[in-house]
């Protein structure tokens, strides 16, 4: 029954999208996802699941382009090769974008290649694909993006563009599995319950202190807070984004196994821990909150008192491993 339904939804979705056809691979993905409790595509949704990097060789594109795409893929899953240069925490791009950036409900990254340039509320101007990637470097990687137009930046954009092969620019339909769709917010969130649930379900890999697991300086399990984690400006510090990520992706290999309440409680608990300062920090946490509250921090715990001990979150000048606050690339555009 389930299977039939999802198959129908899929055919409908494909029928009205400009995509050539839903191949067997896509069908198999959708089937595994629905069996794991993810919703089937809705009739009006654009369904696209990029091929894995193992399919790159058969693509009919210039061999040099293949080489550059492969480089971009390698940077995406082993971003730590840029540690100390562009990355100042223990994250890979794939730490938050599972399946090398291809997985629905894990903020697949290819949609940026077909929806940008466009206006983004977070920084209030029109962003390019490069600038979107630079955003994740500046906040999620607590880093300094590779220069616009540099080899590394081009390689990353080429990988994103390749993942989006076959999808029309500026699609009109919503994209199936885009972002980290959050379950409905429960009435109350509890720090204590979140802590318990984190310790029971997550600490085995991420550590009870959230520092993850490293071996010989290599990240095995990424840090969920602290200096090795993303900074206060990263999208995932918004409680609803974290709840969506967790519900859909964690514990690793067991998506949708937590209740909505658990996912939100844990997200609230994680978001109530310290991490490197937001690069947009003005030198004062209240002032920073006032400026970036309306577009961003009203969804995070930044500048608020922690429920458990009254600690004022984000009230510090710690930038983690990096010796600067704000990378130069983070600047407004005015087109004047």
């Amino acid at each position: 029954m389930m299977r039939k339904l999802s198959y129908l939804a899929l055919t409908a979705a494909i029928g009205c999208s400009a995509m050539a056809h839903a191949d067997e691979r896509t069908e198999q993905f959708i089937q595994s996802l629905t069996e794991l409790g993810f919703p089937a595509p809705k009739a009006n949704e654009l369904v696209h699941i990029p091929p894995g990097i193992d399919k790159l060789e058969e693509a009919e594109i210039h061999p040099e382009l293949k080489r550059v795409i492969r480089r971009g893929h390698d940077l995406f899953i082993n971003t730590q090769q840029l540690r100390g240069k562009n990355v100042f925490n223990g994250m890979q791009c794939s730490s938050c974008h599972l399946g090398d950036g291809r997985m629905p409900f894990s903020a697949p990254t290819w949609p940026a290649a077909v929806t940008l340039p466009d206006f983004r509320g977070k920084n209030g101007h029109v962003n390019s694909l490069e600038e979107r990637i630079a955003g994740c470097f500046s906040f999620s990687m607590n880093g300094k993006p590779p220069e616009y137009g540099s080899d590394d930046m081009l390689a990353l954009t080429a990988y994103h563009r390749w993942m989006a092969s076959g999808v029309p620019m500026y699609p009109k339909q919503p994209i199936y599995g885009r972002g980290y769709p959050a379950p409905e917010r429960p009435k109350e969130l509890s720090y204590a319950r979140g802590k318990d649930a984190f310790e029971q379900n997550c600490a085995i890999c991420h550590g009870a202190d959230g520092s993850g697991l490293q071996r010989d300086g290599k990240t095995i399990f990424p840090a969920t807070w602290g200096d090795l984690s993303n900074n206060w400006g990263a999208g995932i510090v918004r409680v609803f984004t974290a709840a969506g990520f967790i519900k859909n992706n964690m514990p690793l290999g067991q998506p949708n196994s937590l209740s909505d309440q658990e996912a939100w409680d844990i997200a609230y608990y994680i978001s109530s821990q310290e991490r490197p300062q937001d690069p947009r920090y003005t030198g004062d946490v209240a002032d920073t909150l006032e400026r970036y509250g309306p577009t961003f921090h009203r969804h995070s715990m930044y500048g608020q008192k922690r429920e458990s001990d009254g600690h004022l979150l984000g009230d510090h000048a710690n930038t983690g491993e990096k010796g600067f606050l704000k990378p130069d690339t983070l600047r407004p555009r005015t087109f004047e």
């Binding site: 996802l33 399946g99 090398d100 997985m103 697991l213 399990f221 690793l252 067991q254 998506p255």
Partner: protein, 221 residues
């Protein structure tokens, strides 16, 4: 160091409770004696043996001590059931468990067997699963928990690179069939149950062919 380990061991002995599991300090020298029980299957060098079509004996040499100790506790308590292991684990007291675990963890790891004559296509599939996963079946890669080289991560995720193919296969099948369920949070079970029999054979063979450790010294820490 020795003083501390003996003191801890004595403290442990007096409290024989589940709460000391895996925390008791083992003495590798004493462990070597207790390991006399184990040699028939796990071999004098701790290398174990791949047995085609039969029950393979895992390599213990170089595995994490806490992981080994936890498994022995689980055989003893019945949390992990295995007819061959149960009687031997039951003969060991808490201290001896800590000691043999310390002993095996410090032996230099030996190469895995059973992946030698497997065809390229199957090995390729095994490599994909181990290093990249197969997200079309929501198979997370082995390396995301067992470490970048699959040589183990912390005390919970054992080294599987260079383990015998027959043993890896039997364990994955045990998880699939729910006869092994002593993994924390069903982490391994939920992945194994999404693997086909061919996936299991493929990944077992590929892993058996991988080096069990980057450098010998790394393991004896």
């Amino acid at each position: 160091m020795k003083h501390i380990s003996i003191a801890l061991a004595m403290a442990g002995l007096s409290v024989l409770s589940a709460s000391v599991q895996g925390e008791m300090q083992g003495d590798a020298k004493r462990g070597a004696q207790a390991a006399a029980l184990c040699i028939a299957c796990h071999q004098a060098d701790g290398g174990g043996k791949h047995i085609e079509g039969g029950e393979s004996w895992p390599r213990l040499a170089g595995l994490n001590a806490t992981y080994i100790a936890n498994q022995l506790h689980d055989f003893k308590s019945g949390a992990r059931s295995n007819a061959s292991m149960e009687p031997f684990a039951s003969m060991l007291n808490e201290q001896q468990i800590a000691d043999v675990a310390a002993y095996y963890s410090q032996l230099p790891p030996t190469p895995g067997q059973g992946g030698e004559e497997v065809d390229e296509v199957l090995l390729q599939r095994g490599e994909t699963i181990a290093l990249h996963g197969d997200w079309s079946a929501y198979l997370v890669s082995c390396k995301s928990c067992h470490g970048p080289d699959n040589q183990g991560a912390g005390t919970v995720f054992p080294g599987i690179a260079g383990q015998h193919a027959g043993y890896i296969e039997s364990q994955l099948q045990a998880w699939k069939g729910r006869t092994r369920n002593n993994d924390p949070q069903d982490l391994m079970g939920s992945v194994a149950r999404r693997m086909s029999d061919e996936d299991v054979r493929a990944v077992a063979a590929w892993l058996a062919n991988q080096p069990p450790a980057a450098k010998q010294q790394e393991l004896s820490q």
